[in-house]
């Protein structure tokens, strides 16, 4: 971190207009960033300006507006490429979100390379969006889903992972940062182990991309997916990064306009990358909004964000752990700013309802990761997931509120 850099939290907070409001008469404490992040003014302005001045469908017309819009859309692709350090913009597919990114690979890769008796490896801490598409593929092909377990701290068991990889393994799909536990998985190491056996790797980066520098070439993963709305960008946007060698060989997922080269009733030839995977009118305004979000983060600096959020993680772990009867799920050494916990004698739902009345937005339940809570044998938890605009004062307020709640239910 640049010693000269001052993380101006007041200025950063003022960039997010929604944060200034009161909820139930209390200042909003937004701790549901794992579900979605708030948008900085620059993203809001970008989307608004396009609707007012530049909207026109991309890749279709040769008129002025369409040409300008296409340039902006492709510039957003270049920003995304640079943000994750991909080799080429051909490797950046815009999707509607990480779920669409993963489903694209599950279908297209599955069609080309998975057959009866093959195996796909996922981990026990995956979001349902990185389980169900693979289960569906396995059902279609008669393949088998294998699962890397994790320990009580929420860290993947590498010995078990090594044992699972064999000649039948066709792909490893693993989460970069767990949305429930906050664990930052060593995806570079996971990828290297798979590559020893020539097995490609997909990384679900939905909860990583907004918190740390992601370099897909350094990780060397074959696919990387993320959602725009979790990285301060618009909803309905997402990215699938794929190595060109895979994207070229795999068949397309969705068919339609823009993804074709030539169509006759006998046969269709497909467009080159990345258009081959972007059937129909893309969310081009959203993609440009996502580009604005990436610009915003780049201006602050991912390393500065990582350093600031590391302070929040350490502070949050210390303060929450000190609350009598509070149990934190996910205590990995390398952890992102996600705190899932239970409070003795208080159902997560009840805690969530009370926290809401205190102005604190958290999530309660199982966070689309049923297997994690089956592993811990609990019905669910409260999750406070933080972002670059949250503060230690907000963590103090959460802890004070939890102590009050405990008294009320005691």
């Amino acid at each position: 971190m640049d010693n000269q850099f001052v993380y101006d939290i007041a200025r950063i907070r003022s960039d997010f207009p929604i944060l200034g409001q009161k909820v139930h008469g209390k200042p909003l404490v937004y701790f549901d960033n794992g579900a979605t992040t708030q948008k900085p003014q620059t993203v809001i302005d970008t989307i608004n300006r396009i609707h007012c001045e530049q909207n026109s469908n991309v890749h279709r017309g040769l008129h002025y507006l369409s040409d300008q819009m296409t340039k902006m859309y492709e510039a957003a692709r270049e920003k995304t490429r640079a943000y994750i350090n991909a080799r080429d913009t051909k490797e950046i597919i815009f999707t509607s979100g990480v779920t669409a990114s993963i489903n694209t690979v599950a279908f297209s890769f599955g069609e080309a390379y998975v057959k009866e008796g093959d195996e796909i490896i996922v981990s026990e801490m995956e979001h349902h969006s990185n389980i169900v598409p693979w289960q569906m593929l396995c059902r279609r092909k008669g393949a088998r889903l294998r699962v890397i377990p994790f320990n009580d701290e929420g860290e993947l068991l590498f010995d078990e992972y090594r044992k699972l990889i064999n000649d039948r393994t066709r792909l490893v799909a693993v989460v970069h940062v767990s949305n429930s536990l906050g664990t930052v998985n060593p995806v570079k190491e996971i990828t290297a182990i798979a590559h020893e056996k020539n097995v490609p790797v997909l990384v679900d980066g939905a909860q990583a991309i907004q918190h740390m520098t992601v370099d897909v070439r350094d990780i060397d993963c074959d696919f990387y997916g993320f959602s725009g709305h979790k990285i301060y960008g618009p909803t309905g946007t997402g990215v699938l990064y794929g190595k060109e060698c895979w994207l070229k060989e795999m068949p397309p997922f969705l068919g339609g306009g823009d993804m074709i080269d030539r169509v006759t009733f006998e046969q269709t030839t497909y467009a080159d990358l990345p258009a081959k995977y972007e059937a129909g009118t893309p969310n081009y305004i959203g993609a440009v909004g996502l580009g604005a979000a990436l610009d915003y983060l780049t201006a602050i600096g991912l390393e500065n964000i990582r350093e600031y959020e590391k302070g929040l993680v350490e502070y949050g772990m210390e303060k929450l752990s000190a609350i009598d009867g509070l149990k934190i799920y996910g205590t990995a050494k390398n952890k992102s700013c996600v705190f899932s916990f239970s409070l003795a004698g208080v159902h997560a739902y009840d805690a969530g309802v009370y926290l809401d009345k205190m102005g604190i937005a958290v999530r309660t339940g199982q966070f689309c990761t049923h297997p994690i809570w089956d592993r811990f044998k609990v019905e669910g938890a409260v999750r406070a997931s933080l972002a670059l605009y949250n503060t230690k004062e907000e963590i103090d307020y959460l802890c004070g509120s939890l102590k009050e709640i405990k008294k009320m239910f005691g």
């Binding site: 208080v346 159902h347 739902y349 009840d350 309660t364 339940g365």
Partner: protein, 144 residues
């Protein structure tokens, strides 16, 4: 006591609480006094589906009257259940069918009854009426 009278009594009881925290603190206390559901009714079949909170629902019709046994892992929902059971248990299916839950708005629990909430309350209230209607069709006897 009729359904209407019980609701009026509840409204009067809640008048002493002037804010959300007071009302919900009272709900927690009511939940504590609700007798737990007999283990034989805590079955997978009796779980109210699609809810974030495990909530069990059992109803039975006896001598032309409905009796509800409901339980939840949430203290707040238990509190609401205790109110619903007090209002509806022992009433006839005909009375339940025509009942209007006017107490909800009057005591400031409308958020808890919202169908958008990821809890069981809205579904429980719907089940109370649905089971009463079914019992009415079956001649006022049977179990659901």
């Amino acid at each position: 006591m009729t359904i209407e009278e019980t609701q009026k009594e509840i409204i009067s009881e809640f008048k002493v609480f002037d804010d959300w925290f007071g009302r919900h603190g009272h709900l927690i206390e009511l939940g504590k006094s609700l007798p737990p559901l007999a283990p034989e009714y805590k079955t997978e079949n009796n779980l109210v589906k699609g809810c974030q909170v495990k909530t069990w629902f059992h109803s039975a019709a006896k001598d032309g009257k409905m009796f509800y046994s409901i339980d939840s892992e949430s203290a707040l929902i238990r509190g609401i259940i205790s109110l619903l059971a007090r209002i509806f248990s022992g009433q006839t299916p005909e009375e339940i069918k025509n009942a209007d839950l006017f107490f909800v708005d009057k005591v400031g629990l409308e958020e808890d009854f919202s169908p958008m909430r990821a809890n069981s309350v809205f579904k429980i209230a719907s089940r109370i009426k649905a089971d009463a209607a079914a019992a009415r069709g079956a001649g006022g006897t049977g179990q659901n």
